[in-house]
């Protein structure tokens, strides 16, 4: 999945482009991200929805009754909107959404950050039930990663703590990045450290995400720049 790099001082345009690209690469119709900033209380929102729908949504204050937002933010796992079919708020919002060509078939992916901050990425796709099930299974991992990536980007730009923060990598994560920088494969690193390649991958994934990197080489580059590891 090719995505716009949001890790360094992303603008609102970058974030909008990120969502459009997410739709493109994951075969979804619309994507929307909302965050309630725990420090300022402000809600930050980005969406690929038509402007008219965004306006109507705000005017009618649907964010207070829309369960794909109000209820889904309290879930740990992504929430398929089929869970809301008997919810009156859902009916209200999505019967209105239909006039804008927006499907009531979708998924909300909640993100929790370290400061009690909660974000939510929602996506919709108008297609048959079966196709939706298959698509959901295929894209769910990418959506989880994209949701946290997006959330972290917004949080970093909204808090001084975020801007100043050096990612807290563990010694194990640094050690693994150091071996990767030295040209070792994941299998090699597992052998050297006497851990399974799967465990190497878990640490690497965590290190990548902490560094806001989309790829392992990018993570190595950032770790070198932050002096967390030495050049290979």
């Amino acid at each position: 999945m090719r995505l716009i790099d949001l890790s360094l001082s992303a603008s609102d345009e970058d974030r909008g482009a990120f969502l459009s690209e997410l739709c493109e690469s994951l075969e979804i119709d619309h994507a929307c991200y909302a965050l309630q900033d725990p420090f300022s209380g402000n809600v930050h929102g980005y969406a690929t929805y038509p402007e008219e729908w965004k306006q109507l949504y705000g005017q009618r204050a649907y964010q207070h009754v829309d369960p794909t937002f109000t209820k889904a933010v309290r879930s740990v796992a992504p929430v398929d909107w089929s869970r809301f079919t008997s919810d009156s708020g859902f009916d209200t919002v999505f019967s209105a959404a239909r006039d804008f060509g927006i499907s009531s078939q979708g998924l909300s992916v909640p993100v929790r950050g370290p400061f009690g901050d909660i974000g939510l990425l929602t996506v919709t796709r108008d297609c048959g039930e079966r196709e939706w099930q298959g698509l959901r299974r295929k894209i769910i991992g990418g959506l989880q990663s994209a949701a946290v990536n997006f959330h972290d980007s917004v949080m970093r730009s909204n808090t001084i703590a975020g801007l100043m923060r050096v990612p807290p990598l563990s010694s194990r994560e640094c050690e693994i990045l150091q071996w990767i920088a030295a040209g070792k494969s994941q299998q090699d690193v597992g052998d050297i450290l006497s851990i399974s390649p799967r465990t190497v991958e878990v640490h690497l994934r965590s290190a990548r995400e902490k560094l806001g990197a989309l790829t392992t080489p990018q993570a190595v580059g950032r770790a070198v720049r932050l002096a967390l590891i030495s050049p290979g």
């Binding site: 796992a77 993100v111 991992g141 989880q144 990536n149 994934r205």
Partner: protein, 237 residues
């Protein structure tokens, strides 16, 4: 049967939620001797206020015999806080695709008493299958879990050992606690099913199977535990 309870459906399962907190009191305070807070026979902590997801293993009679609590590692979770000593002071893993499983327990006393020790691995297997399937459905690839040596043994004996270890085991209460990694994969689910003989959907068991288990008093052992035979006879916990 496994029931997933989260902030969205918690109000629909008050009895199961109470049963789970009571089970946790019996296991973590009484058996393991952890320093946990028990009020009115129920164990609760601060993380229960953060809208976690719970997997609860329920008998056909409605008794809670196993449970597990799930939190995202991107937000507040136990490895970043109370279990930090298990990581030797290192920062915890944090990933969109890594969940944390805590308060993972099975009612060993009750199960040993009523249905023989082999049921312990059945309940553990059912919980692990449920957790793996729930995780995979949610785009999660791995989980970090805090377990005690008994649970560690049960997992290893049922073809379900950790895929990795984090930090160092530490004494907590009467026993040692350890942080392990568990991959959430079809392969793990297959292994557990093979070792425990659990074949059906753990979330929606077939009515026949329920009837068989329900009639367990004095009746022949239900068919769904046949493959227990694959387990060592010394599997007493």
């Amino acid at each position: 049967m496994i029931v997933i309870i989260d902030a969205l459906n918690k109000h629909e399962h008050p009895d199961l939620v109470r049963g789970m907190h009571r089970l946790r009191a019996r296991v973590f305070r009484d058996r393991l001797g952890w320093d946990v807070t028990v009020t009115d026979g129920e164990e609760h902590d601060l993380f229960d206020n953060l809208d976690p997801a719970y997997l609860v293993s329920v008998t056909p009679d409605g008794d809670v015999v196993g449970c597990m609590r799930i939190l995202q590692t991107t937000g507040p979770h136990m490895m970043a806080d109370v279990f930090a000593p298990l990581l030797d002071g290192e920062p915890p893993l944090r990933s969109a695709r890594l969940w944390e499983a805590t308060r993972f327990c099975v009612d060993t006393a009750e199960l040993t008493d009523r249905r023989g020790p082999r049921s312990i691995s059945q309940v553990t297997g059912e919980l692990m299958i449920g957790a793996c399937e729930y995780a995979m459905e949610s785009g999660i690839t791995d989980a970090v879990a805090v377990i005690d040596p008994l649970m560690h043994r049960i997992l290893k004996r049922s073809g379900n050992g950790p895929s990795g270890y984090l930090g160092s085991p530490r004494q907590m209460g009467k026993v040692v606690a350890m942080a392990v990694l568990l991959d959430c994969t079809e392969e793990r689910v297959r292994n557990i099913r093979q070792c425990t003989g659990i074949t059906g959907d753990v979330f929606r068991p077939e009515p026949v199977a329920i009837a068989q288990v329900a009639g367990r008093a004095g009746a022949p052992r239900p068919a769904l535990t046949i493959a227990d035979a694959g387990l060592p006879a010394s599997h007493a916990a």
